[in-house]
Symmetry: C2
Subunit: 321 residues, 2 copies
């Protein structure tokens, strides 16, 4: 019996590793900067060098059943990272799962995108335990999603299903430009950068007083909006209201698709609590088709922020047959 | 071995039954008017009376493995019809699967909505053979959908998933009123009634010549638009262009959800052929996220119109374990 799995959260800034047991306890952990490696080979070498000490710490590679990787633009079917804009070595198609497997004595390695890893993490260790149909929405620099249907992550025909940050919420030319090159995507409004943009637009459009006026508009982040809202700033609260309502309207469309038991929100912005969650649920129930009204739960991720991504990644390692 | 399944297409006007073998050949068929029965019991009695002769024709009930029903507002999980507005006896919650099973010597009966039945029909007998991820969109009086993911119909937590006719395409007050009580649904634009409404709007808004001006605007149906377009009428062609483009934009959002291998269109409006299919595909590829561009196929149902619904319904009978 091999009692551990390596969970690997590959982020734009940090690469975090944890060795996790079947109950979701992290036995050992380490991290490196994702940094400016020239090639994927150099990056993987640096990762494996960092991993060796913690692998030894739990008794060696023969104690490790598998590795699970959650990574931006990760494709579950192919085990590759494809065209990841924020990784210096990830602009082509990088067979990351295979590369790690070869350097770790052939242990099986599964890879998926970060939002799918979060969804599996919620199902195995978080608030979605026992659920078979739910959607995890990650609110960070972008808006990601992991969709679970009949107890399985929805990968679609090519492994790229679940890009709910890129449904169009504002059609036509007035839609905000999105990083994907199109206009009006949910992500352009409801990501952390979208929230900061809403703040700048609202400050410019009105003369209303706000704590946010004390800052250079270009420096405002979603965290500043959250802090101002926490202090009772009305304009900041309105920004969350706007953001939450748009998320709720989007979720009403998602219900027409997969009728989930719950929507689970994950990421830094969720720390705003009721400020964001209440408008989401309210707009959802006002906008959703009658047959779905009042059915879905709106939950905040049950995974501890620091370890959530690593646990999620480890969970896809456990799923390898 | 029981060689046959009863397929039952329960429509607002007609109730059509077929006894189908495993290769999708219809061995015997009959139909009654869905009509104005006062109670579900009376309706089921009339159905069973009509069924008896064709059951005898294939050798009796012991030759029948199961029954599959495709019905408006049908719920697969509960085997019930719920709040079906167009059925005189269907306004509450009717346990139709159980009622038929009891009157047909206990054979297993499965029930689902008509669009899901069409999806299973395509998978078993139609153009989706061998596909595991696809979406059937039915264009009729309404817009329905059957979503297949990992080779299974997506039912969601309550059996009501796949209501893609009710995603919001035009947000806010300018959205067209939909039969569901909300505004801006895909169905309000792209159903047969939506197409007729587009025709009336366009005729009223412009002075452009059109064969459709020879009719009383209130009498125009989508069939009239199709006939006019077939004769080269520019205004009628523009109506299909508008309808197709909106369907294509909607499909672009659906791709972000489940990344299907194909979109399969089903129903009377599809007879317009390229007039509707070309703008769908074009708008899809113009609007979809880069990673999905050019991947999905746009297909017309491979099932013969007259028997398609019965075959689809029979297919869910075969699926009963």
């Amino acid at each position: 019996m091999k009692p551990y799995v390596i969970g690997f959260d590959l982020g734009g800034t940090n690469s975090v590793f944890g060795i996790v047991d079947a109950r979701g306890e992290i036995k050992a952990t380490t991290a490196i900067k994702t940094g400016n490696y020239a090639t994927a080979e150099e990056y993987v070498d640096a990762c494996v060098a960092a991993l060796q000490p913690i692998i030894e710490q739990v008794g060696g590679i023969e104690k490790i059943k598998a590795m699970g990787i959650g990574a931006p633009n990760g494709n579950y079917y192919s085990g590759t990272i494809e065209f990841a804009p924020n990784l210096s070595w990830g602009h082509g198609k990088v067979p990351l799962a295979q590369m790690f497997s070869e350097r770790l004595e052939g242990i099986p390695v599964a890879l998926t995108n970060d939002a799918n890893a979060a969804a599996i993490g919620e199902m195995v260790y978080g608030v979605a335990r026992g659920m078979k149909n739910f959607i995890v929405i990650t609110l960070g620099t972008g808006v990601g999603s992991g969709i679970v249907v009949n107890g399985q992550v929805l990968y679609g025909c090519d492994g790229f299903a679940g890009e709910l940050g890129h449904v169009i919420m504002v059609r036509g030319e007035e839609g905000r430009s999105c990083g994907c090159g199109r206009k009006g995507c949910l992500e352009a409004y409801c990501s952390a950068t979208g929230v900061a943009r809403t703040a700048r637009e609202l400050l410019a459009k009105t003369q209303r007083p706000s704590l946010l006026r004390e800052m250079n508009p270009d420096d405002i982040t979603s965290l500043d909006v959250s802090i101002a809202a926490g202090k009772g700033d009305e304009l900041a609260k309105e920004i969350y209201e706007f953001t939450g309502r748009m998320l709720g309207e989007a979720c009403a469309d998602f219900a027409a698709f997969s009728s989930p038991e719950a929507f689970i929100f994950f990421g830094g912005m969720v720390k705003a609590g009721d400020l964001i969650m209440k408008p989401i649920e309210q707009a959802y129930n006002e906008n959703v088709l009658n047959v779905f009204k009042g059915k879905a739960k709106f939950l905040v991720s049950g995974l501890d922020g620091a370890s959530a991504a690593v646990l999620g990644a480890s969970a896809i390692g456990w799923e390898i047959q």
